[in-house]
Each structure stands twice: as C-alpha cells, then as structure tokens.
C-alpha cells in the first residue's frame, strides 16, 4: 500500500473533475423537490462505467453526499424537503429564512452538513477495519444470517404497509432467482434465452424503478395543481422561489465562531447517533435527522426554541443527515449489506468494478477502501467550497418545468440502461421496471424492499446452500454457531418487533379509551 500513490490517485485531475461534476449534479438533484439521491445515483450510474473506478466512484459519492446536503436548500427556502433526508430541516429552516436570514440558514446547512459528514467519515474509518476483521470470521452460515437480517429490514423500509413491503420484497427475490443457479449450475427460468443466463442486470431495474417510475408518477400529479401549489407556497412565505433571498438589511450572514463552538456537544452527539442510525439497514438520513432533532430538544439549552427557528436545531438536522452517510457506508463496505437505497446502488457500482463489498474488500483491496475514504473527505471539502454559491444557483432551477425534468430523467434512464452493456434488452428491462415501479407506488407498495431483495437474494441462497454442505448438513448449523444465532435472534426481533409494538400501542389506546 503506497499512501503517496493513493493520494495522487484521489487528487488526480480526472478524479477531481468527476467528483466536482458529481457534487454539482447532486446539488441540482437535491435542490429539486421530487428528485432523490437514489434516483440521481441510479440514472447517472451508467456514466461512471466508462471511466476509471476512482473517478466513477468519486462522481457517485459526490452525487450522494451533495444531494443529501442540498435537500436542505429547498427545505430551508421553500419548506419543501428536496430529499426525504432533509425533512427535519423544515422544522426550523424556513422560519430562519422567513425571518429575513436566508443566507445564514443556507450557511448553517453547508457548514454543519460538512461537519456532520466529516464526523460520519471519521466513525467509518475508525469502525470499519475492526468490523471487517471481525467479519472475516464469518462462514457461510453467518453470511446467510447476515443477509437474512438485511432482508428483514424490508419491514423497516416498508413504512406503514409492512405486508405490502414484504410482498414486494419477495417479488424482488423471485427476480433474483432468474439465471444460473449459484450452486447446482442449473439454468432457471431462462427459457433458452442466452441473455437471461446471468439473470437480470441489477442496474436497469434500479434505473427503471427510480428513474422512469418516478417520472411517470409525477405525471399522475396534475400539473396545474402542482403549479398552483408552488405559487400558493410562494405567496404564503416571504421567501419565494423566484427571488428567494430577501435579506433583511444588515442581517447576519453566518454564525460566529463562538456560536459554532457552542453547538459542539449537540453536533457531536447527534452525529454519532446518526452514524449508528445510518448503519442500521433500512434506515436513512430522514430517520437519523428526526431522532437527532428529538434527542437534542430534550437536553439542549436552547430547547424552547426548537421548532421555532432555532439555529442550533437546524445545525443538528443538517449535521445528522450527512453523518448518517458514514453509518450507511460502514454497513455497506464491511458486511456488503445496504444501509439504504443509495448504498444498495453503490454496491451494484462497486460490483461492476469487480470490488465486492464485504470483509474481503478490506483485505484484498485495501487501497480501494482507502481511496473511498479519501473520496468521501474530498466530497465534503468540495461541498464546503462550492456549497454556498451552488445552493443559491441551483435553488433557482426549481423554476424549471417539471415536464422537462421528467423527460430528461426518462431519456437518461433509457440511454443509460443501454450504455451499461450495449444491450437493448436492458432498455426493455428498464422500461418494464419503470412501469411496474409506477404501479407499485400507485398501489401504496414501497419499492425499497425490491432493492434489498435483488442485492441480497443471491447472497442468501448461495450461502445457505454452502452452509448445508458443511457438517452436520442440517438446519442446526445456523443455531449452534454463536454469531449466526445472535443474527437469527436479531432477524426475528426486527420482523416481529414492529408488530408487537403496534399491538402494545393498540391495547394501550383501548385501555385509555
């Protein structure tokens, strides 16, 4: 491992160029309500296969970090979260902005997102190597149960519709069975088609679900109503979309160093909480930020101002959603389990570059792991440098017609799907996945579980069969190994837990009634 070589690789003009492009694209995606980091990473993924891995990953990580950060821009200026992760920024951000301090609010978003992001990366660096070393002890039974635990997170990503989420997850698992069976070498559901032997390519399905599907979903929302809604919103708020900065004369434009220092404990605690929340598969920046905001409200000196335009509260939420990225990346890199939809797509990207996330990545491709850490740091530094200017510029793009954005998404999705393998079949797969994704969201079915199932389906099956080949060759293999047993218990808890909590809540409500 040559550190000099790694640094020169991260700072090479090509890598920096792609990372900056990713940051700028991420700012645009994040600032536009309705576009998500997942969609951005999915539809721009094909662009990255044509460049060296560090440049491609720099671009994807740039989009991921920057979109999560920039989601706060529209949350602050319009009161509409740009991405789900910035939902908690709407609690205090618009009030600060409306009070004549939009520049200050944007500054808080930039600076604290970067601070949170860097704390998240620090936690990732500290935790990932020991976790990966520990995970090296894993055999097929442990991998089976880790993957099962990951699959059990279908419950967590399903929101209110748990049964629907699990149902959709199993549809994803069904898709993952197409192609050559991992252990017996039997061709399943290929119907003699050579193109299906390797199964469905993961990327076109993702692009279809999150690109075409979302664009179709936007069509179903009546444009006239949408335009009226935005105009009404503009009228209601002093800060408008078109001329969003209506600064009070002599308004404070940034926090003083003393003010920043005063928030140190809140930021540190919430960032660490968010790293843990982000590390749990199925959660994300939105949950991390809400949990952090609620926790800080309990112990902060400024607690009475939370929800009334507290600067500290805004700082906490901004730091939290970017810190959760460190947690999601830890689970993804060390165990190969996606923390959220974006990391699921990142797993696909890494696999395309022949880097399989998991403990072996840390022993076999240590250089790449360090490059990834370096790229994350670079992304945050670039957000700090470009953030304030970029957020002002990209927030003006909210005026762009939705039809243009949706058409761009569809076109990029179709051409991008083709570009991966020069295969028109993938274009059809993307199209069908998009239509299916649209119907799923219309029927109230979450699409997140499909991502988890597609990623983890093959992992569960191949490791399960390998486990059965180990002595004693029975199901007891999974119960006699301590790590495997603990994971089975955790899986059971995550599957049954929400139902039990729901029952307890219901019985309490009945008693109160």
């Amino acid at each position: 491992m040559d550190i000099g070589l790694i640094i020169s690789s991260i700072l090479s003009p090509n890598v920096l160029l792609f990372t900056v492009a990713g940051i700028l694209l991420g700012m645009f995606i994040g600032a536009m309500p309705g576009l998500s980091a997942t969609m951005g990473v999915a539809i721009l993924l094909p662009l990255t296969f044509w460049v060296e891995p560090s440049a491609g990953l720099g671009m994807l990580l740039g989009i991921y970090n920057s979109a999560i950060y920039a989601g706060g821009v529209s949350a602050i200026l319009l009161g509409v979260p740009g991405t789900p992760a910035s939902i908690a920024s709407t609690f205090d951000g618009p009030i600060i902005s409306k009070g004549g301090h939009p520049t200050l609010a944007l500054w808080i978003n930039t600076v604290f997102s970067v601070i949170g992001g860097l704390i998240g990366i620090l936690c990732l660096i500290i935790a990932s190597f020991p976790i990966a070393r520990f995970a090296l002890r894993f055999g097929p039974p442990e991998y089976t149960t880790v993957a099962l635990f990951g699959l059990s997170m279908m419950v967590a990503v399903s929101g209110k519709s748990v049964a629907k989420g699990i149902f959709v997850g199993f549809l994803g698992l069904a898709l993952s069975t197409v192609g050559m069976d991992p252990m017996n070498g039997v061709k399943r559901f290929t119907f003699g088609k050579f193109i299906l032997i390797d199964g469905f390519s993961f990327v076109p399905i993702m692009i279809g679900l999150f690109g075409v599907g979302e664009a179709l979903k936007q069509l179903s929302e009546t444009p006239a109503v949408k335009v009226r809604f935005v105009k009404k919103l503009e009228k209601e708020q002093k800060t408008t979309v078109s001329d969003f900065i209506q600064e009070e004369k002599g308004a404070q434009k940034r926090m003083t160093l003393r003010e920043v220092w005063a928030t140190k404990w809140s930021i540190l605690v919430t960032s660490i909480i968010s790293v843990f929340v982000g590390a749990i598969p199925g959660t994300g920046g939105d949950i991390a930020a809400i949990v952090s905001w609620t926790q800080c409200k309990n112990f902060s000196k400024d607690k009475e101002n939370y929800g009334k335009g507290s600067r500290e509260a805004l700082a906490v939420t901004c730091a939290a959603n970017n810190a959760s990225i460190g947690g999601a990346m830890t689970t993804m890199l060390t165990l190969g389990i996606p923390g959220d939809s974006v990391t699921a797509i990142l797993i696909g990207a890494l696999m395309m570059y022949n880097y399989t996330p998991g403990p072996l990545l840390f022993s076999e491709h240590k250089d790449m792991v360090i490059i990834l850490f370096g790229l994350l740091v670079v992304c945050n530094i670039l957000i700090l440098l470009l953030g304030n200017l970029g957020s002002k510029i990209f927030s003006k793009f909210t005026k762009l017609p939705r039809a243009w954005i949706s058409t761009t998404i569809i076109m990029f999705s179709l051409v991008g799907s083709y570009a991966i393998q020069n295969s028109v079949f993938d274009v059809f797969v993307c199209l069908v996945a998009g239509i299916f994704g649209f119907f799923l969201s219309k029927g109230g079915f979450p699409t997140g579980p499909i991502v988890l199932a597609l990623i983890l389906g093959e992992m569960v099956e191949s490791n399960f069969v390998r486990s059965m080949m180990l002595p004693p060759g029975t199901y007891s293999t999974f119960f006699v190994r301590p790590i495997s047993l603990v994971l089975i218990i955790l899986t059971a808890v995550s599957l049954i837990g929400p139902a039990v909590i729901k029952l307890v809540k219901k019985s309490k409500e009945r008693k109160e009634a």
């Binding site: 199993f170 939705r402 949706s406 570009a419 219309k442 069969v465």
Partner: protein, 151 residues
C-alpha cells in the same frame, strides 16, 4: 384496484415459479438443496402474502383505505396520457432494437410528445427546442464522449 392487480400479478408469478421450478427439483449433488428449493420458498411466501393482502383489501374495502393509494386518484384522461407515454417509450425501444431510423431523429420524434404529455405548463415549441438540445447533449455525451455504440 391497482393494489388488487399487483397482488394478483404476484400470485400469478408464484404459480409460474411453482410450475417451472418442478423442472429442476432434483438436486445435482447429494445432500444439498436443489435449484428449486429457493424458488419454492419464494412461491409459498408470495402466495401467502398475496392472499393475505387480497383478503385485507376485499374484507376491509370500505373500512380501510390505504393513505398511500388514496393520495392520488387517476382520471381517465390521465390513463390515456400514461398509455400514450408508455407506448411512445416502447416504440422508441423497438425502433432502437431493430435499428430503424437514427438516435437523434427518433429521440426527437418520440420525446417531444412525451414532454408535452408530461406537463402542459410550457408551450410545445419551447419543449421541442428543449428536446432537440437534450438529445444532442445525450448523443455527444454517450455517443461521442463515452463512445457508446448508440445507433
């Protein structure tokens, strides 16, 4: 209605998995599960969940309305719009598959009406100009810059 269609589709997929996985239900190696093992588990789970969801929808049809599915109701006009968009996208893919026409020309022909159908807040000619610019940009990016063999 969409909920019912998706659940019925899931049950149909489960039946499909069950029927076709019988072709490879014999294990090629003694002592290890056959290639049909995993699809069979999925099939059973899909059946149970599909039926459960259907019963829930039918029994609680009036009592329970899913907030997610209720949020947006699709009008007949919207259905027609949607069908037109999907047909245009499918046409685009078919033309691509058989290498008929040219990428730039086909993109403009198919995506200008798609853009217009996706939202009418902009005049059609402005959207047409936008699509021409977008198509050329994508062609230059993928075809020239990344050397992807788009037709």
């Amino acid at each position: 209605m969409i909920e019912i269609i998706v659940n019925v589709l899931g049950i149909a997929i489960a039946a499909f998995l069950y029927i076709f996985s019988r072709d490879f239900s014999v294990s090629t190696r003694p002592g290890i599960p056959s290639a049909a093992f995993f699809p069979t588990i999925i099939c059973v789970a899909l059946l149970i969940l599909g039926i459960y969801n259907l019963v829930k929808i039918i029994v609680f049809k009036k009592k329970h309305v899913d907030p997610a599915s209720e949020s947006i109701r699709i009008t007949k006009l919207k259905v027609l719009q949607m069908l037109a968009i999907v047909s245009l996208m499918a046409l685009y893919a078919v033309l691509w598959n058989y290498k008929i026409g040219h990428f730039i020309l086909n993109s403009i022909i198919c995506f200008t009406p798609i853009c217009w159908l996706l939202g009418d807040e902009v005049e059609w000619w402005k959207s047409a100009i936008y699509i021409v610019g977008l198509t050329i940009f994508i062609y230059l990016l993928f075809g020239v810059g990344l050397k992807v063999r788009i037709w």
